[in-house]
């Protein structure tokens, strides 16, 4: 408007730019500061600790390999979450789908151990995907056809999956040749033909990384370049409008959870066949097998703006946090519980600053940043979690 006003706006613009640039690192820094406080309270040296964290996550080729491997299930689960959440289906069942994928692939290899590698490995991955897909499909069809809320069904199905795992690993699938006095709920060392091939000789970097990246790319293509993807997103934005437009809403919803489960199941197969031990083992809980990948994948996906390609990056960072956290624990000898709490803190701080950052971007007038999630109910069934803007390319 007036010249004075424009000058005022420019100063504000500069400040907004600064804030939006610094917000994220500042939030992370704040969380790490609180973490440092906790470390000091425990008598540990924060500098040593954080240095070990960075070193352990990114400080050497070995560390980067560990981080990449840790990130693989996060990427896969995250990609599945992108698909599901974009269709407005809140898949909290990652843990159970991981388990079922692991079981399916393990069962396949126990049944057909002598198939040659080039045949067995893809089959293993397929089996994992199918196992997870079935588990997702159950929740998906319950939602689509019987109106059973997916948060309820996926949480319950997680519990069921764990008990199936406990039963199978302690019973039919157990390693009968274990050298101890009595058997533990673990399979035997699975056929080496099913080992995920190593990408770089002499390292641990296995083909799971390729699978993850491929899956992310395919999911991106699916969501933004195919008819199915369009339907998924449309249903996610407005179930009623899509229905009026003649889309097969129920089938789409079921498919959303099925695909999401397939991704998680694939991750489960990778966890078993890319692991150091090449066996499947349980401690009676889901986390003993998954390492919480089912939940961490959700965080990775949401930090990636529900965009499969950016999920790769956020999963890598999160994986680094996890790997680095363990290294930090070893270096300063604090209980691992502190690392868990620190991860939680980081997630909360970073997610808190997100909106502020986004709002400043809007006020700067960046293109394509109008938030889709506005209050109010134009549609009868709006997304449970707001879909990210800026992900439409």
């Amino acid at each position: 408007m007036t010249i004075g006003r424009r000058r005022f706006t420019r100063r504000h613009d500069r400040r907004r730019l600064l804030v939006s640039w610094l917000a994220l690192p500042a939030a992370a820094f704040a969380a790490l500061l609180v973490g440092a406080g906790m470390l000091v309270a425990l008598g540990a040296d924060p500098i040593t600790g954080y240095r070990a964290l960075l070193d352990g996550a990114f400080g050497s080729p070995g560390a980067l390999t560990d981080t990449a491997i840790k990130a693989v299930p996060l990427v896969l689960v995250g990609v599945g979450i992108c698909i599901a959440f974009r269709a407005n289906v809140l898949n909290i069942g990652g843990e159970g789908q991981l388990v079922m994928g692991g079981l399916a692939s393990t069962g396949l290899v126990l049944a057909l151990p002598d198939l040659p590698g080039p045949l067995l490995v893809p089959l293993v991955l397929l089996a994992g995907a199918v196992g997870g897909a079935i588990w997702g499909a159950i929740a998906g069809s319950l939602k689509a056809y019987l109106n059973v809320n997916e948060i309820l069904s996926t949480i319950m199905l997680n519990i069921v999956a764990v008990q199936i795992m406990n039963y199978l690993l302690a019973g039919p699938l157990v390693d009968k040749e274990f050298s101890g006095f009595s058997l533990i709920p673990q399979t035997r060392r699975l056929s080496p033909n099913a080992d995920l091939p190593v990408l770089v000789q002499g390292t641990k970097l296995h083909a799971g990384v390729v699978v993850a990246v491929l899956a992310a790319v395919l999911a991106y293509v699916l969501l933004w370049r195919t008819g199915l993807g369009f339907r998924l997103r449309a249903v996610g934005l407005s179930r009623d409008a899509s229905s009026y437009a003649g889309m097969p809403v129920r089938r789409t919803i079921t498919l959303a959870l099925t695909l999401s489960g397939a991704m998680a199941g694939l991750a489960g197969a990778v966890l078993v066949f890319g692991s150091a031990s090449h066996r499947m083992v349980t401690d009676g809980t889901a986390t003993g097998f998954t390492g919480s990948a089912g939940f961490n994948g959700i965080v990775a996906a949401l930090f990636g703006g529900l965009n499969p390609l950016w999920t790769i990056a956020s999963a890598f960072v999160f994986g680094g946090l996890l790997v680095g956290g363990n290294a930090m624990q070893i270096a300063v000898q604090v209980p691992t519980a502190l690392i868990v709490a620190l991860n939680g803190l980081l997630v909360v701080f970073v997610v808190s600053i997100e909106h502020l950052r986004r709002r400043y971007r809007v006020q700067l007038g960046s293109p394509a940043t109008v938030p889709i999630a506005s209050g109010g109910g134009e549609d009868a069934e709006r997304p449970g979690i707001p879909v990210r803007e800026g992900a439409e390319e």
Partner: protein, 310 residues
């Protein structure tokens, strides 16, 4: 199996089911309040754990159970205000912030436990309170009216909450904010204030639920809740955002779990089927919902941050 249908066994099973259900019933009621106003809190488990440890530690140091419950509530309140700041003022993605709170609560409770307590020390548990007159009713008296005060509290909360949500101005405001915050805002209801209050209330109940768990069991351990917070969230959907429905779901889950335990003890369930039987509560809860599937509508504004003019 005939042994199961003796009065003593049935009574014990029902009482056990109610006891098992109480912690996640309390937490689920709290989450219901929050969700009715549009807030999705996936961090309930973490808040329960912090409340549980707070209560446990208080009893260790002061031997005062009721102070411990208060501490649990206070911890919940603090966490509630924190989640309110994060979700309401800072408008964070509620799905992620919830998982962050869960991880934080899980880690911090365990850390404090390891550093402040070390090897677990048992604490006193809730005394059983017999309701005068009612507890002398044969069978039913022992089933329902000989429990600890947390159980009574949880049960009493159900009609109270139902009343508040449907018959008070506050309750109407809560529902309005959850359905259409813009409209509520336009008639002068402060969306932020309502959501702060529901977050605080909901988390306080989660903290109390954690305290109830620790004080019922008389001990603390790493990850004491074993995912009960998530069951609590799931039950909100089962109950269609109504306290009575939540009660029904909690009781169903608890009763199936206690029945499975009893049948294992009686030998009705052979050891080989032990794991499969353990999934019964989850399966039956889903089946039950399928059986009574109605067209539930979740609060329209659930998990969507509100911004005036946004």
């Amino acid at each position: 199996m005939s042994k199961f249908f003796t009065l003593t066994v049935l009574t014990a099973t029902v009482a056990s089911g109610i006891r098992l259900a109480t912690p996640f019933l309390l937490a689920s009621l709290g989450e219901t309040i929050g969700q009715r106003s549009g807030l999705l809190n996936l961090g309930v488990d973490g808040i329960m754990l912090l409340g549980a440890f707070g209560a446990y530690y208080t009893v260790l140091e002061t031997q005062n159970i009721w102070l411990a419950v208060l501490v649990g509530a206070a911890v919940g309140l603090v966490m509630g205000l924190v989640t309110a700041v994060v979700n309401v003022t800072l408008k964070a993605e509620q799905g992620i912030s919830g998982i962050g709170v869960f991880l934080f609560g899980l880690g911090l409770s365990d850390l404090l436990f390891q550093k402040l307590v070390g090897t677990p020390v048992p604490i006193q548990t809730f005394p059983t309170v017999e309701v005068p007159l009612l507890s002398s009713i044969p069978t039913l008296g022992s089933m329902f009216f000989r429990a600890n005060l947390m159980v009574y509290l949880a049960f009493l909360l159900v009609p109270v909450l139902a009343f508040v949500l449907s018959r008070t101005t506050y309750g109407t405001n809560v529902t309005a904010v959850g359905e259409n915050p813009a409209a509520a805002d336009s008639v002068g209801v402060s969306v932020a204030r309502i959501r702060y209050s529901t977050a605080a209330l909901g988390s306080t109940l989660a903290g109390v639920a954690g305290a109830a768990l620790a004080l019922q069991l008389g001990i603390f351990q790493q990850n004491l809740t074993q995912g009960q917070g998530f069951i609590a969230v799931a039950l909100v959907y089962f109950g269609a955002w109504r306290p009575v429905g939540v009660l029904a779901g909690s009781l169903l889950y608890g009763m199936v779990a206690s029945t499975v335990l009893t049948w294992k003890t009686l030998g009705v369930i052979p050891q080989s089927a032990s794991d499969l039987a353990a999934m019964a509560p989850a399966v039956l809860t889903v089946l039950a919902l399928v059986a009574v599937a109605r067209r539930f509508r979740q609060p329209d504004a659930l998990a969507k941050p509100y911004e005036r003019g946004g």
